[in-house]
Symmetry: C2
């Protein structure tokens, strides 16, 4: 930092990014939280999936960004896996009373995020700008960045026809059988402006692919044009962390989805999907025998994250794998 | 009702309107509540001021309509004068946390009304349709109708320049000195579709102008093109109820506003503003000596409404004045 730099020493912007993570919601956010805790303040950047974003009740909702915002600020509900702690549901009860759609739960506090985001986007701000504003307001030194400022929407072709992601995931509780996944508008999407400079930063130490659902959380990010190429050409090693433990998905629809689409739900099958971008593949001790693609280094550790200590420990082990 | 009418006997639509009221928020809604209680179910229609409506945080907010909806459904807060009873404010607290505008209080339950209204208007419904949907959902037999489906916005020229109504009323707590009031877009506004048929109904018994602020609650309604003419030509008597008690406004900025605009805050001065439309002017016992315009009949009664009984009693006295 130059002496003439007007920013205070504690400003996160004074630091170059040393670690980047690609993450979806719940599972990925746990490791993002661990990295946030152990990387020097302001040197960590979380790139979030926005394929799950949707427009509902007139509101622009970004579930994965919000999960990361809430998790990193300590506002996340510790048991539910989404939304805010100490949440109340009086809005939902009143909405039900007047006949509104109540299949997607919106807590009273959580609503503030959606209303303020919708207002700012309508005023012409980008999703990057709004997200950066929120993380500053919540006192988060880590930069939180959407994969793109352009709308990309995950849709699924099922036995019931094409349906939007949240319709499938929440309203129908993943019940319809999935035949195909698509990321609408992804061809036209641009990588969010903060991402390429961070990936090209020579001080970058590691890029982590969090243990999120590969099909619906990580692949929308990788599908943004130029993203795979940027990861391949980045000088820092790319470390994928398997979302599979003992041959099974920890939670969520990963296993069911992979099976329906003809993939084996295994640490090895997930690694195959990232072959061109990862240098290291981190698997759980229970999957120690996993085959990894040629040229990819396998690291075996404990990947289940239950406590904050688990998250920090996995983050440490992931970063240690780089050395 | 014809025998072949498919509607159940209890349907409010089976009844012709026998009483209509023009009302603003708090003060007017009290008398509207009294009328709602004593008029046969489904035979009362409340026409609401929408000059106070505004767009805030991306939401379409109709304060007077909502006060009437909440008051007639029993959901209104009994002491505050606006919003819902047993309200919570967790949205506002979270909005403050992320740096949003918090000068206009929006309760968690109240938000449901604004979000659902905004959604339905964006989908192409009219304010009349949305309001009618809400009153049905809340089990209100009384029809609640906006003065117009077209946006009319009360604005005030003050010592600080032109400001929007809610900015003046809530944000600045009526502090700026007012020099002029205007109802933006009123020339282009059309009377809401349910109003003229109700006013022209030969079974109509009475039209009541509630004791709302004349300048900012009643006059926006009267300013909609054709409204004064429709009231003058309506066969039922038009009964105005004075918002003044003992030479003073009961609450709100009526007195200050009238004084700043050069009018005397008296029952007589208010009556002058309605001269062309009213047949009867109801004043409080404390204003028994009020002069009324030629051709207008004066009725003296107790007009302060504290309890539900007061509201019903005044409603009874107002309708008795017609006989």
């Amino acid at each position: 930092m130059l002496d003439s730099d007007p920013q205070p020493k504690s400003s996160p912007e004074a630091h170059p990014t040393s670690v980047i993570a690609l993450t979806g919601g719940v599972g990925g956010a746990k490791l993002a939280f661990g990295l946030h805790r152990i990387v020097a303040p302001g040197e960590f950047m979380a790139i979030c999936n926005t394929g799950d974003d949707f427009y509902h009740l007139g509101l622009e909702i970004s579930p994965d960004i919000d999960t990361v915002l809430y998790t990193l600020s300590g506002l996340a509900d510790p048991s539910r896996g989404w939304g805010r702690r100490d949440e109340t549901w009086n809005f939902m009860a009143a909405l039900k009373e007047i006949g509104g759609h109540t299949w997607f739960q919106l807590g009273d506090q959580d609503l503030a995020t959606h209303i303020e985001r919708t207002k700012r986007l309508a005023e012409g701000e980008t999703l990057s700008t709004v997200t950066d504003y929120f993380r500053r307001q919540l006192g988060i030194a880590t930069r939180i960045v959407p994969m793109s400022d352009d709308p990309v929407r995950t849709r699924l072709r099922t036995t019931m026809g094409w349906i939007d992601f949240q319709d499938y995931f929440v309203r129908q509780n993943c019940a319809p059988m999935v035949k195909e996944i698509t990321f609408d508008n992804v061809e036209a999407a641009h990588i969010a402006p903060a991402i390429l400079p961070a990936l090209n930063n020579p001080d970058l130490q590691a890029v982590v692919i969090c243990p999120s659902n590969p099909l619906i959380s990580v692949e929308p990010i990788l599908a943004v044009p130029g993203m795979r190429k940027a990861l391949r050409s980045c000088t820092a090693p790319v470390i994928g962390v398997s979302p599979i433990i003992n041959g099974q998905a920890v939670r969520g629809p990963t296993a069911k989805l992979m099976e329906e689409l003809g993939f084996k739900s295994s640490a090895s099958a997930v690694a195959q999907r990232y072959t061109d971008v990862i240098d290291i593949w981190v698997v759980d001790e229970s999957d120690a025998n996993t085959c990894v693609p040629t040229g990819v280094e396998k690291v075996v550790t404990k990947t289940l994250m239950t406590t904050t200590k688990d998250r920090e420990k996995l983050a440490q082990n992931v970063l240690a794998a780089v050395q």
